[in-house]
């Protein structure tokens, strides 16, 4: 019964490349409908962990299930049941907004009818009615990012992975983006997000911090700030992530 409320169950998940351990036996759960912040310095192992959780990379050892499927043995089922968006958004620049929606709807296996309905809803929600036939190429960065996010959840996945979704976006659009994230969780979608804007970590229900391949801590932002006696997540992060500079 417990496990039904967990979208990710990760037990000793490990990835090694040669004699380098990128992800070192990380163990954690992500609950249904929560916003889970996945923090870490560059090179801490975040991307490798996300690749394993999204079925793109098989683990060296350990076990993880995502949306009920095993990452090692059922990667294709995982891909169907998750959404993914990265800082290098995956929209096709030389297709229009509408065409991108139709394309990804098809990839995610929606029927024509579903694509039509979803497409209308999505365009209306983002207020893009007047621009639906515009090429993605010329759109402002913030629009692209909001569109990419909405498309990443068009198939109503149980979880969406967001890899630095707000990098470089202006401060108002960044906040609007987080509005979309909140709305998605109200639909029951679980959000797994990485960011370098540490005040955004405070919008998460729970936050984990990776340092050199280890999952060093995991708790609500409030508890982490209390535990390390810091006023904000930026200071918590700086405190935890100071690593030996010469270690490479």
């Amino acid at each position: 019964m417990e496990s039904q409320n967990k979208v990710i169950v990760c037990d000793g998940l490990t990835k090694t490349f040669g004699d380098f351990t990128a992800v070192n036996a990380i163990t954690f759960d992500v609950k249904k409908g929560e916003i889970f912040g996945f923090l870490g310095a560059n090179g801490a192992g975040k991307t490798t962990a996300i690749k394993m959780l999204s079925g793109l990379l098989s683990p060296s050892s350990g076990k993880a299930t995502v949306a009920g499927f095993d990452v090692a043995t059922q990667p294709e089922d995982i891909k169907k049941n998750i959404g993914y968006m990265s800082q290098h958004f995956s929209l096709y620049q030389d297709m229009t907004i509408k065409e991108n929606i139709r394309f990804y709807g098809g990839i995610y296996g929606l029927s024509r009818k579903e694509i039509k309905t979803q497409s209308k809803l999505l365009i209306k929600k983002l207020g893009l009615e007047a621009y639906e036939n515009r090429l993605v190429e010329g759109l402002p960065l913030g629009w692209k990012q909001k569109l990419a996010f909405s498309i990443a959840i068009i198939h109503n996945p149980s979880i969406v992975f967001l890899d630095e979704p707000t990098s470089g976006v202006d401060p108002i659009t960044r906040r609007q983006f987080w509005g979309l994230i909140y709305e998605a969780t109200h639909q029951g979608i679980t959000v797994f997000v990485t960011t370098h804007y540490l005040e955004e970590a405070e919008y998460c229900d729970r936050v984990s911090i990776m340092v050199d391949g280890d999952l060093k801590d995991l708790d609500t932002p409030q508890n982490l700030m209390k535990k390390y006696d810091k006023d904000n997540m930026n200071d918590v992060f700086l405190y935890m992530a100071v690593r030996s500079k010469y270690k490479e």
Partner: protein, 309 residues
Amino acid sequence: MLEFKNISKSYEGQEALKDISFDVKKGELFGLIGPDGAGKSTLFRILTTVLLADNGTALFNGHDVVDDYKYVRKNVGYMPGKFSLYQDLSVKENLNFFATIFGTSIKENYDLIKDIYQQLEPFENRRAGALSGGMKQKLALSCALIHKPMVLVLDEPTFGVDAVSRKEFWDMLKSLKAKGVTIIVSTPYMDEASLCDRVALIQKGKILQIDTPKGITDSFEKILYTIKTNKIYESLKVLNDIPEVSNAFSFGQIIHVYAENELNIEKVNNILRENGIEDPKIELGEATIEDCFMDLMVSQNLEEDGVAE
């Protein structure tokens, strides 16, 4: 040291820079603060003579960047936004290469890069492509410095870089400034503005404001309140519906509310409580650069959703 006069540039009808004018003084650490697409890189390309402006002039230590491009190229150290070193050369080979094309040697100017390069020395023979992000950034900075430039132009050196490495990078800039190098640096991170002597806030090819960081925050015209509640998203919705509130934005777990006139705190408290928000705590607060940026964006109608023909 740098003078921009009425610089404009369009790409296929889209205005990237609109009539930009400002100066950077000798020895200054000047920040260009704005999101992606604001025009920062375009301005830097014009300054470093790799792009021509449609209108306006730029002077580099008194030399026109178009007529006297050779002078500029000799005296500028440019670190573009994209990692542009030779991935298949080693750390040392890259540095040697850049020293040689500028007619100097690593030895001659080692002093300037010593603090930065020392951290790279253990990996001197590693290929640049195999370095971590933070190390690549240090190598790129070393290569931009090796000919002892008058001006260092850094295009988003900390983009996508974690908070720890960002802090280290700014410490390096501070020590370079102390050695007399004029630095112009762009960044999308508003919190880095406070580390500059002066900044220009830029959005959509337009400069919103130029001043010292303190000058900018001091000139914030509205009254700012900070509110702590247990429900950020719900509180924002409620607050933005209050007519006396100009705008409410979240800053992590704290909400910043801007108002033209003093708010009746009791009334705001009651409205929040009526909407199921328990125990809100409202206090007067001080504006940050990010507050100023957002307020200027709204008042100058430069939000992304307000445009696109």
